[in-house]
């Protein structure tokens, strides 16, 4: 038989067809007449999974794995594998979470936790994309103020039925408002695990150098008004250029205006969350106070004077006071030579001094496969064991009552710290950030103009007029059934 030579074109065409066929075979599950498909069950990494193995009569063509996870056992999700997303700013924080997940798996060997740590910003954008793609983690750490946006779009599972059956998680075990902020339309959409109460952190060395007494340690102390605070900040401010010391500095992130607004009787929205109230005398006065701290009194460095960053300046004795949370104590305690303590927020002309105490919570994705197992993870992490480990981690205050006591806080953040400021602040001096399902949009509207107030290019009245013109229609666009969140 004559052998026909193969031309280059035929070879290329054949090659392309072969690759195409291979690619299609790899993608598709359609069996050809020579292919036998058999389904077997085997354990992969401790998880029973259906594994589809496709074999040809004489040789193995292809093996595909992990087609579908088995349904969780009715008793509580035994044998499941749960993806959990969380955020951590640094390796130390990551280690705390790794410890918590490991301890959970030791207690629950039938559930494997697969942590998905997200560094940096855009965490919530990633979650949205993963949910839309149907591949979101079963359990998600969330900022409580972000939860409503996901709930009204049916992204979260109602946890109330699970709580009803739980012996570990009860509302009474939590700081009440921290629990209630996750309740809406009869459902519970997240279980809080940490609270980030904002208080004034002060640098003891700066006070000693200026020869002034530290601020009071009691909320609503008679000598701790806005005026007292300003006088103290002025007495701490000295020097020029790269070695200048400033009495005060806070992040320019807009939610940090809340303690000042609230402590002066103002707010961003009215109680019903339907109307912008930045233009009230109380709100404008508080904003003017903040603007003056930078531009008139010059006790707060301008952005170009503070390019080293707040933590570095505080750690190198160049900032006297700054409002922060327990979350920042791990960095402070790791800064060599830094001695610090805490004080309450000062009071303006409001009834009492108030601060913000936003929380983080754990939620379960509404489309999660292994819902029971996912709940077990949430239950354990937000339960007594998880809360205890969280506190020992030294960078978060648990939302469970009775865990963050004076003794335990002393052990976790420092023996000499006035921890009662944190405890009293969390329990009795917190305002409610006006959370709505339009939180992100409202935040961008508030944030851009607030920069102008701090820069001194915009008066509080101008800021209020411009911002309320955006916020009022935004609030009016929220349907009635999506309103009524308690706030964070």
């Amino acid at each position: 038989m004559a052998i026909r030579p193969v031309t280059r074109r035929q070879l290329l065409r054949g090659g392309l067809l072969a690759s195409g066929a291979a690619a299609l075979a790899a993608c598709g599950a359609t069996p050809t007449p020579q292919v036998i498909e058999k389904v077997i069950t085997q354990v992969v990494a401790g998880t029973p999974q259906v594994v589809k193995e496709t074999v040809e009569v004489e040789k193995v063509v292809k093996e595909t794995v992990v087609v579908q996870e088995t349904a969780p056992a009715a008793a509580g999700g035994g044998g499941a594998s749960i993806n959990i997303s969380f955020y951590a700013d640094d390796l130390a924080q990551q280690a705390v979470w790794d410890g918590i997940f490991t301890a959970f798996m030791q207690d629950n060997p039938d559930i494997k936790v697969r942590p998905q740590q997200v560094l940096g910003e855009d965490y919530f954008e990633k979650l949205k994309v993963l949910m839309a793609g149907g591949v979101a983690p079963e359990v998600m750490e969330m900022e409580s103020k972000q939860v409503p946006g996901f709930v009204v779009r049916k992204g979260m599972l109602d946890l109330q039925p699970y709580v009803d059956k739980s012996n570990v998680i009860k509302r009474d075990d939590f700081i009440p408002y921290q629990w209630d902020k996750h309740v809406h339309a009869g459902g519970l959409w997240g279980v809080p695990f940490s609270v980030s109460t904002v208080v004034i952190f002060y640098n003891i060395a700066v006070f000693e150098k200026a020869g002034v007494k530290p601020p009071p340690t009691k909320w609503d102390a008679p000598d701790w008004s806005f005026a007292d605070f300003l006088a103290l900040a002025k007495s701490l401010t000295s020097g020029e250029g790269a070695t200048a010391v400033f009495g005060y500095m806070q992040t320019t992130w807009w939610p940090y205006m809340f303690p000042w607004l609230w402590s002066n009787g103002g707010d961003v929205l009215n109680q019903e969350r339907t109307k912008c109230t930045l233009g009230t005398p109380e709100s404008e006065e508080a904003l003017q106070f903040l603007q003056d701290l930078i531009n008139k009194d010059k006790v707060w460095p301008t952005p170009d004077q503070a390019t080293e960053g707040m933590d570095t300046m505080f750690g190198s004795d160049r900032i006297g006071m700054t409002p922060r949370t327990v979350q920042n104590t791990s960095i402070m305690n790791a800064t060599k030579g830094l001695r610090w303590n805490v004080a309450p927020m000062p009071k303006g002309r409001g009834k009492t001094a108030l601060t913000r105490a936003p929380s983080d919570c754990y939620c379960v994705w509404s489309q999660a496969g292994a819902k029971d197992a996912a709940w077990k993870v949430v239950e354990w992490i937000t339960g007594p064991k998880g809360a205890d480990l969280l506190l020992k981690g030294g960078y978060l205050m648990p939302a469970r009552k009775g865990v963050a006591t004076a003794d335990s806080l002393h052990k976790s953040i420092g023996e000499t710290i006035d921890v009662d400021v944190l405890i009293d602040g969390t329990e009795n001096h917190t305002g409610r950030q006006p959370v709505t399902v339009k939180w992100a949009e409202m935040g961008d509207a508030l944030g851009s103009g607030y920069e102008g107030v701090l820069a001194g290019t915009k008066t509080p009245a101008e800021y209020a007029a411009e911002t309320c013109a955006i916020i009022d229609p935004l609030m009016a666009s929220i349907p009635a059934d999506q309103q009524g969140w308690l706030g964070d």
Binding site: R9, R13, L16, L17, G20, D122, F124, E125, K128, V129, M131, A132, G149, F150, R153, K154, G155, A242, P303, D304, Q305, T307, E308, K438, A440, E441, D444, G447, S448, G449, E451, G452, A455, T457, K458, I470
Partner: protein, 306 residues
């Protein structure tokens, strides 16, 4: 004889057919990719532009609702204005700077390859890394830009932190990445026959005259290409603002695509974001068509023999 002609015709048709098949086989990977990853999402976004789509819920028909919302949206106008400002200042600057850079790099001097590499290198650096470098350059306290100003006795500036300087700072930063355009100009320059310059010299032309009357006209196709591509690219500016300023201060760098991103991924308004995308497409297309129309009057192609 007749049979032979018919056989030849059949063979020719067969050959033609085979060539068509071959062409499509070779084009198939691109066509499949285009249909799946470009045309598919484009069609989907065209439909979503007329819908209220909140990402996690099924889309609902809205008709022209997204477009009427846009008409009343102050941030839409703000972001469009910011983007137009950036485009109409940065593109002429980029084209001019890259053309003169290419003319300099086209000289026969020692080590010219090293110079060319040095100028092209920033184009290869990822945008994120570039932006971080420029954040340091424009650092008000320790940055090189202010050090340079101080050297000339000028007051230091806040650059990205100043709402009046933030956009100009980004325009300056955009000049860092002109290596790609420079390369196109360099190729264009090397296509200009030496003969023209020699003839001009014989006629007594000065260097500037030669640039004006030979180099620029013969480079006009490259100028045209870089302008068209530059405007399209500038309308899509995103990374620098996203990383360096987040749209601030006071929305001074809230560029169109950044606003689109916020709507789609932060506000759950993917339908509105899709409408924004199609409006941007329409604007870009209009500018591109306008340039092609105007190009007839100033772009010179040697093959046209004009």
């Amino acid at each position: 004889m007749v049979g032979t002609v018919a056989q030849r015709a059949r063979k020719r048709r067969g050959l033609l057919w085979r060539e068509h098949v071959d062409a499509y086989v070779f084009l198939a990977p691109w066509i499949i990719g285009f249909l799946a990853f470009t045309a598919g999402p484009m069609i989907a976004s065209a439909l979503l532009a007329f819908m209220d789509y909140e990402v996690l819920l099924p889309p609902r028909w809205l008709g022209l609702g997204n477009f009427t919302t846009m008409a009343a949206d102050p941030l839409f106008r703000k972001s469009l204005g910011n983007t137009a400002y950036y485009t109409f200042i940065s593109v002429p600057l980029q084209v001019t700077a890259s053309m003169f850079g290419a003319i300099l790099l086209n000289q026969k001097v020692r080590g010219v390859s090293i110079h060319r590499t040095a100028f092209y290198l920033p184009s290869l650096t990822p945008a994120v890394a570039n932006t971080l470098v420029w954040l340091w350059i424009f650092n008000p306290q320790f940055g090189l830009a202010n050090a340079l100003l101080r050297l000339f006795g000028l007051p230091p500036q806040k650059w990205f932190m100043d709402m009046n300087l933030a956009k100009p700072s980004m325009i300056i930063m955009s000049l860092w990445g002109i290596g790609g355009e420079m390369l196109i100009f360099l190729a264009g320059l090397q296509g200009i026959p030496e003969l023209y310059y020699e003839a001009a010299k014989v006629d007594g032309a000065r260097n500037w005259d030669m640039v004006r009357h030979i180099t620029v006209p013969l480079l006009s196709p490259s100028i045209f290409f870089n302008t068209v591509v530059g405007i399209i690219g500038s309308f899509q500016v995103f990374t620098t603002a996203f990383i360096a300023t987040g749209g601030g201060p006071q929305n001074a760098t809230l560029f169109y695509v950044l606003y689109l991103y916020r709507n789609g991924f932060q506000y759950f308004k993917m339908g509105y974001a899709s409408a924004l995308a199609w409006v941007l497409f329409a604007i870009t297309l209009a500018f591109t068509l306008l340039q092609f129309r105007l190009g007839r009057y100033w772009v010179y192609y040697e093959t046209e023999g004009r």
